[in-house]
Amino acid sequence: MTALSRLFRTTSFRLAAAFILVFALNGFFVIGYIAYNTRVLINSQHVEMIDAEIAGLAEQYRVGGLRRLVGVIDHRSRRPGASLYLVTDPTGRNIAGNVGALPPGLLDEPGARQTAYERLDAPTDKPDELRQHAVVRVFVLPGGFRMLVGRDIAEREQFRDIIAGAFRWSVLMTVLLGVAAWYFVSSRVLKRIDAVAEESRHIMVGDLAGRIGLAGTGDEFDRLAESLNAMLDRIEQLLRGLTEVSDNIAHDLKTPLTRLRNRVEGALRNAPSEEGYRAALEATIAESDELIRTFNALLMIARVEAGSPDGAMTDLDIGTMLADVAELYEPVAEEAGVEFVVEAPAGIVVRLNRELVGQALANLIDNAVKYAAETGDDRKPRVELAACTDGGRILLTVSDNGPGIPEADRTRVLDRFVRLEQSRTKPGSGLGLSLVAAVAHSHGGEIRLEDNAPGLRVVLDLPASGGGS
């Protein structure tokens, strides 16, 4: 591609060309409009003046006949100005007036017209050439005399020249200004676009933590840079999630895998009986099931975090949905001696992924029952599942009156594999709340951990219309 064709392909060039064309057309129309209307105005003035002149001359003729008319014309002809007069006798000889030459035959036809002529007092170096123009009116007088009254239109022609000059200048200025604007656009604006492109390339090949600089003007380029930066934030966040998953796999799956391997190895070395082998194998299966379970949970969190909630959003009555989950866990709560209360108003329809929100609620209820069961003092263990609307949002809460979570730890427990000291003794992978948080985010909502005084209250704050992401 040549440098020239590359130049033509830039947006600034196309913009400049388009603007030049638009403004040139605009100038053409404005000037054309002015030219046409002034021409019409000047013409009508000429005609009016000629008519007034004729009216005056007619009066003179009526009072004093041909002699007086000739006298008046002779007198008027000597005055400088644009008015033209001519009186001829029946043979065509000039009797009075300031017109020297006319195209032949002009005086034969009475009426108004535009014509070329030569003034009587004009320099006569080229006698046959008619260089001046006028609007004239021809009359036939009694006795074969003819009279011409007219007005030179040099003024109008000059005006036309001025207009034509203005038009040329305006086109020239438009082109010059257009080129100047093009230069400005390409040197200033395109430079910024190129800078943004350059910076994003740098970020792509290098450090993803880099961001595109803002000019601070808040203009469209800043807005573009802001969205690009937001996109980079999101990419970085996803990437961090991915790194976290692989780190977690390395960290938290290697430990049980090692344990698994050691157990098998130990059994091979020590197990004295078939009974011993059987026990070791059964323990191995139980452990690998646990591993698979953890692995599935991790994958699920990563998938939910990465994208839309499986595209399986449906409109659901939240009361039915909660009742379903509650029904699943109610016997578990009862067995653990925990009072389980559900408060869901009927008739609230929410758009969500039943499977994911169901699992999120199941995780929360499971936790709540587990911790409520160890309230410690004389409180009756109690878990409450509730739903309420708040503007365009739906709040699903699971609260217990167990030991709760200290405020300092409330954000941390949402991370993967984080298990607080007090819960280390209980079964669980430390992934339950991470999944709940991921589900909330995938629905365009959030998870909040609050003090239930005593106990923990977890709020799933979701948009009722099913925000999605």
Binding site: I292, R303, A312, D324, L328, V332, E355, G358, A362, G432
Partner: protein, 229 residues
Amino acid sequence: MQSMRILIIEDDREAAAYLVKALAEAGHVADHAADGEAGLAMGLDGDYDVLVVDRMLPRRDGLSVIEELRHRDIATPALILSALGRVDDRVTGLRAGGDDYLTKPYAFSELLARVEVLARRRSPAEGSTLLKVADLELDRLSHSVRRGETSILLQPREFRLLEYLMKHAGQVVTRTMLLENVWDYHFDPQTNVIDVHISRLRSKIDRGFDPALLHTVRGAGYVIRDGAQ
């Protein structure tokens, strides 16, 4: 459980060999096809009770094998095996004509239970309105349950749980199968939720009666059957 003929379409030879052997131990006859085209040919020819189809296969993918079979009016029930476990993967699998979906890695007991249930799908018990195991009777029309002369009152969900178990009387059903079919959830319920529901049901239908009908199968799930058999 009578013997079934099962076709396994799976490209991992070791996994397939294990399945063939384990199914034989369970009293079934299993054939193996190592790619999609071979699987399709055998599926068209043989008179199988169930197909076990891996989703990702060489030469022709598993879903397309099932689609082609359904297109040719072969309605042999198919269990799809897949490493993909998202909800929409399951939906795509079932839409392609699969009858059940199992995510890898799976426990053999889970696969066996599902295969046996699929094979018996078209059995008469499926459509009958009165289910009977020994002296336990469940009337699907009047939603009533009785054991011998005693009428038993069940919650709606307990009724559906018992209905599913009795529909597959004599067959092992796993916890995930119960969660899927009775509660319509496909996630992993962390704790022993299903066990608690089962023990509740058991206390209603078995306590005070003899013999016990609802049995726990260790490492697999539950089965309802006449203890005398």
